[in-house]
Symmetry: C2
Subunit: 195 residues, 2 copies
């Protein structure tokens, strides 16, 4: 979005909301669910950004909002894409430069591994492996589904390929790294790095 028209700019939560609404009408809560299922490995957003985004889209006439009464629950607000919203989504998509950023505290930690106790480094790596392994399995399951459009498939396949490579790399180089920092420790004992 950014500004009034769709200039070149970063993808924001508003555009993503318009995007998931092309799949059908949804509540804010359901949109969050889709974000988790479909985007979580390459784009994150919480309620704190989704609800305000939806309110703004409604204000701009890019979505309509219909309240649905429920017994024993607060009212649902079901959002639907308008024609203007569909046009805006397209403009935004066409104007979005394809960035791809990684922000990895994990790799920073690995970069400074020689400053840390080897056992700590080993624990961190194990933790990442434990986190990634089930994700790979999930992406594999996800790609067996027949209800996916080509883009979803491509994005999921990408995630699968990259995560797989990451897992393989980390598993194959863990021992090497730990040994190397162990040796360093003997050569340059660092009083501050004790535990």
């Amino acid at each position: 979005m950014a500004g009034t028209a769709g200039e070149a700019s970063g993808m924001d939560v508003k555009t993503l909301c318009l995007g998931v609404l092309t799949e059908g009408d949804k509540t804010g809560y359901e949109i969050k669910g889709r974000f988790e299922e479909a985007f979580s490995h390459f784009f994150g957003a919480g309620f704190g950004s989704i609800y305000p985004a939806l309110a703004e889209l409604s204000r701009l006439g890019l979505v309509t909002c219909r309240s649905v009464e429920q017994d024993k629950r607060p009212d649902k607000k079901v959002y639907r894409l308008t024609d203007a919203g569909r046009r805006r989504l397209l403009d935004a998509l066409l104007a979005t430069p394809p960035r791809h950023k990684v922000r990895s505290e994990f790799l920073v930690l690995m970069y400074f591994a020689h400053l840390l106790p080897p056992a700590h480094v080993a624990a961190i790596i194990d933790r990442m492996v434990a986190q990634w392994a089930p994700l790979v399995a999930e992406l594999d399951r996800c790609m067996d589904g027949t209800d996916m459009n080509p883009g979803m498939r491509f994005a999921a396949g990408y995630g699968r390929a990259v995560l797989g490579a990451a897992l393989t790399y980390v598993r194959q180089h863990k021992a090497e790294l730990i040994e190397a920092i162990d040796e360093r420790r003997e050569l340059e004992p660092n009083a501050l790095a004790g535990e």
Copy 2:
């Protein structure tokens, strides 16, 4: 950093600055250079965050700052890690949970590929390939160096492995994606997606 002591929290530019200063005294400008060389593929920071971070670290006594006069240039400010800074770095590193986040406008675009003109999608993929290919080459060169500590090597190797997988995947599945969205177009013509 976050707060006074090193609680569990996100890695920030301040910690990274302390980290690169373990490699030797540096100016803000040189730190930016190191960020580009060593971290750019998993952590970004510009002058707008580095200079204020350095000022804050100085205020906290975690680095010292020595001004060096230069002729025909503004004075340099050379920063050096203090013992307190070294300790704080270690605390921060030990307290940092190993997160790994990807934010990819590229994959969002691919996810919604069926809404876009196939030629546009193809162009985006080509652009990513053109961006990644030289980076792989650079990482390969970087890993031939002998002046790297084990952690740098591990991080660079990781980047190389993952980028390689990404490139391979994207190259192998580009045609498949383009064909699939071309077919979709025939089946469900979308007046709004024309170009």
